[in-house]
């Protein structure tokens, strides 16, 4: 069996050279494919940019609206707290409660002092009545004494009437009647004395009641006042704390607003990027045209070299190709002149405060 062995030392057979026109078609095809891919990429970048900028813009505008709302809420809280300070708010806050407690305490103490004064006045009048009761006692004792003497007088009269015998009988009846009246008078005096004793006992207990009414230790009011003062101090502390925290929250909100503004300004990069993409499009088209033309001219130069018989004709034909090449080259340059002026994104000074 014959075996055909390849000689490893033999040089590789070069592929058959393509004719210049075939080569031109093939290179131009490659280039067109590459430039199409470029165009698709640029279009995709543009679409991504549009989408991202739209979303970022929505996000930042929304954020700005939210910080506005937040600031309004904080302002409302501050206004409300200021109103609570003046005690004219609709709701009964701690401050108003303390105010009201203080007022009630004041009214109670006023009332207590007035009650004390009136009770002492009553006490004084009771003392005066007790003195008048003593007078009554003295006068009743006088009446009793008169009754006793009258009784003695009646007794004497009865004795004298007995001595007078028959003639004194009428007088004895009178003496008997005087004695009876003296006894009645003594009984009435005793009754008055007992009544005065009862009234005096009533006065004594009234005096005690008046004393109790007049005497109140004031330490309860001092304690209550201290509690009200502490309540006020607590309200002050709370208000101060809240005011400070709200102030801090407002500062943070302000800072966020500043950053949002900065971000919105930074979104202007979109304009520049869009211009650069448009520029890139133009440059791509110019390069595509240029590349196709160069490949074409190169193929023509080959053909001219192979076909033109005389050096003069060859030189003329090549000279014409060279001119067309230069003209093609120059068409690239105007693109260079339209480079976007603004190379960097200057956000400028953003007012923060």
């Amino acid at each position: 069996m014959d075996t055909v062995l390849l000689d490893p030392t033999a040089p590789p057979t070069p592929p058959a050279p393509l004719a210049p026109l075939e080569l031109r078609e093939r290179i131009q095809g490659e280039l067109a494919e590459q430039f199409d891919a470029f165009r698709r990429d640029v279009a995709q970048i543009r679409a991504l940019l549009d989408d991202a900028v739209l979303k970022l813009n929505d996000g930042f505008v929304g954020l700005a609206r939210q910080t506005d709302a937040q600031r309004a809420l904080l302002d409302a809280m501050l206004v409300r707290m200021a109103r609570t300070d003046q005690g004219s708010g609709a709701t009964l806050g701690l401050k108003q409660f303390a105010d009201e407690t203080g007022r009630v305490l004041g009214r109670f103490v006023d009332h207590l002092v007035l009650t004390s004064a009136n009770s002492m006045d009553i006490h004084q009048r009771i003392e005066e009545m007790a003195r008048q009761m003593d007078d009554v006692d003295r006068r009743v004792a006088g009446v009793k004494k008169v009754a006793d003497q009258t009784r003695m007088l009646a007794l004497n009269a009865a004795i004298e009437a007995a001595r007078a015998g028959e003639a004194g009988v009428g007088f004895a009846v009178v003496a008997q009647e005087v004695k009876r009246l003296a006894g009645e008078s003594a009984e009435i005096s005793e009754g008055i004395r007992e009544s005065v004793g009862g009234a005096r006992a009533q006065l004594a207990s009234s005096r005690e009641v008046a004393q109790v009414l007049a005497s109140t230790d004031m330490s309860f009011a001092l304690d209550a006042k201290a509690q009200v003062d502490e309540m006020f101090a607590e309200v002050e502390r709370q208000n101060l704390y809240l005011t400070e925290r709200i102030g801090e929250a407002e500062a943070v909100t302000h800072e966020i607003e500043g950053k949002v503004q900065l971000s919105i300004t930074a979104l202007q990069f979109e304009d520049i990027a869009r211009q650069l993409l448009t520029h890139l499009d133009g440059r791509l088209e110019a390069m595509a045209e240029y590349a196709a033309a160069v490949v074409d001219l190169h193929a023509r130069a080959h053909l001219v070299t192979a076909r033109e018989a005389t050096p003069e004709r060859r030189a003329r034909a090549l000279g014409s190709i060279a001119r067309r090449y230069r003209a093609q080259s120059e068409r690239l340059h105007p693109v260079e002149q339209t480079v976007v002026e603004q190379q960097s994104l200057d956000v400028g000074d953003v007012e923060l405060f």
Binding site: V113, A117, N118, H123, S215, T216, A221
Partner: protein, 100 residues
């Protein structure tokens, strides 16, 4: 005696100095002291040696003011200790009398 009376002269304020507890037990003597002066006499109440006062003392000051003419300048309170002064303040005695 817990109440000490000093009268400088006719038309001059009469000073009532209260020692120890100024309460109901003192009130009788206090009243006797001011009632002895003609109505409308101005008074000075010296509380330098007053250790305690209760509501009857405050009532007493009210009655004294009535006797003294019921004007803000009728009664002047002097030398109150901080504790006593706090009670005078809570009862707003300064609406009735001058407190020095």
């Amino acid at each position: 005696m817990p109440i000490h009376v000093t009268a400088a002269g006719p038309g001059q304020p009469v000073t009532l100095a209260v020692s120890g507890r100024f309460d109901f037990a003192t009130s009788g003597e206090f009243r006797t002291a001011y009632a002895a002066q003609p109505a409308g006499t101005p008074f000075v109440v010296d509380l330098a040696r007053t250790e305690y006062l209760d509501s009857s003392a405050l009532g007493m000051l009210l009655l004294l003011r009535r006797h003294a003419g019921d004007r803000p300048e009728s009664v002047r309170i002097v030398n109150a200790s901080p504790d006593v002064r706090r009670i005078l303040e809570i009862a707003k005695v300064e609406r009735l009398c001058r407190i020095d």
